[in-house]
Symmetry: none
Subunit: 230 residues, 2 copies
């Protein structure tokens, strides 16, 4: 299941174009957090995707839009800044699609993108390669490229029978990494360590067996650290 999440979109035309793209690429759900434009005015731009707009879920907070999601993928036109761990990113073709997972692709405001807080709440950050002189794509065009790459991946991998990792152990890996981090961190500025460990584990794990072994490892470490602090 794939959900497109738009955070506070500002332009009707972008919302309409994105609804059309969701139709072009068979996206299951469109969520819009606090639209800053008139979604009704988006209809002319949605062409044959107007039913996607009718069914779009409008929510008032970011958390509402992502809380039931297994894999949260944030997008940004700023990425790989030296020294900024939060902005370490993957490329559109590296997004791992698994039909058993609920996946959200999250797009920020036209003007300022996603906040650091919003990116932090996601599992991955995707960056679309473009000219260094002017890498900022218009919102709906960023959406088109991501949805196109996901479509390629879904159609190509369907016959490949890749062994998937289930959402449950992945969620535990995220949770226990964070719990361990809370035990060892002295200040919030330590968080790049946690981001690096969680992201590398999620990126590197290959199957369910390995995922559950990692969960056991992290849980044991966490229990021991916890016990110590009692």
């Amino acid at each position: 299941m794939i959900r497109v999440v738009l955070v506070e979109p500002e332009g009707e035309y972008n919302v309409g174009f994105i609804a059309r793209l969701c139709k072009n690429y068979e996206i299951d759900e469109l969520y819009i957090v606090n639209p800053r434009c008139d979604v009704k005015k988006a209809i002319p731009f949605s062409a044959k995707g107007s039913d996607i707009l009718d069914k779009a879920v409008i929510v008032s907070s970011y958390i509402e839009a992502i809380q039931d999601i297994d894999l949260k993928i944030a997008t940004s036109s700023i990425a790989n800044n030296e020294g900024d761990m939060l902005r370490k990113s993957i490329k559109p073709w590296e997004i791992d699609i698994d039909d058993n997972k609920k996946i959200a692709i999250i797009f920020g405001r036209e003007s300022v993108g996603l906040t650091r807080q919003e990116i932090y709440a996601a599992d991955f950050l995707v960056f679309i390669p473009a000219s260094e002189k002017y890498p900022t794509l218009n919102l709906s065009h960023a959406v088109s490229i991501i949805l196109y790459e996901i479509w390629k991946k879904r159609k190509e991998t369907k016959n490949q029978n890749i062994v998937a990792v289930s959402p449950e152990p992945l969620r535990f890996i995220g949770e226990y990494s964070e719990k361990i981090f809370r035990q060892i961190s002295r200040s919030n500025s330590d968080y790049p360590m946690f981001v690096a460990v969680k992201r590398s584990l999620l990126q590197g794990v290959r199957d369910n067996e390995e995922a559950w072994a990692i969960v056991r490892f992290l849980r044991k470490v966490y229990m021991k650290l916890l016990h110590q602090n009692e």
Copy 2:
């Protein structure tokens, strides 16, 4: 050299967005054949690509836009119709980019695309994969996907020189994972946990900065566990 050719575009916003995309993807030339809209009104949509609009070459015939071109690539949302040889198509990622050739990517009208005559005058037809139920992308979104794929082809092949992770932090990741494992394991049959964590971290880590952040995390966990056992 890459030229984008728009044949009789009808929407200002599309022309503007396409100018922006030409800037995002360092396209050399934009030609517009008989625009059916006011190109001046496209400026607000071109953002930092407005200079591309200023330099755009407006011509009155299709032939003028392509006569000096070595490789002419037409695009269509209708392709591979059984028995219609003219519409046999290649995929965006199959476009062959050669920096020594003059290449034109040709996009048709929003309403009816390119005529059979216009496709016939080109060397290839590119078709962007999308849902069979609704494969017709909006014009500027089709442009974004094609330009993105060409960019990937030009760049990714050019510097395949992926930033490698140095052996030193990788060795530390292995060592500290094992040291932590020794602190938490009850028997040697626990070792798959360690193998899974180490392998996933080594597999998932992307660069030196991230690798050192993981080392710091593991070292902190280890020191804390060690301290507890004293």
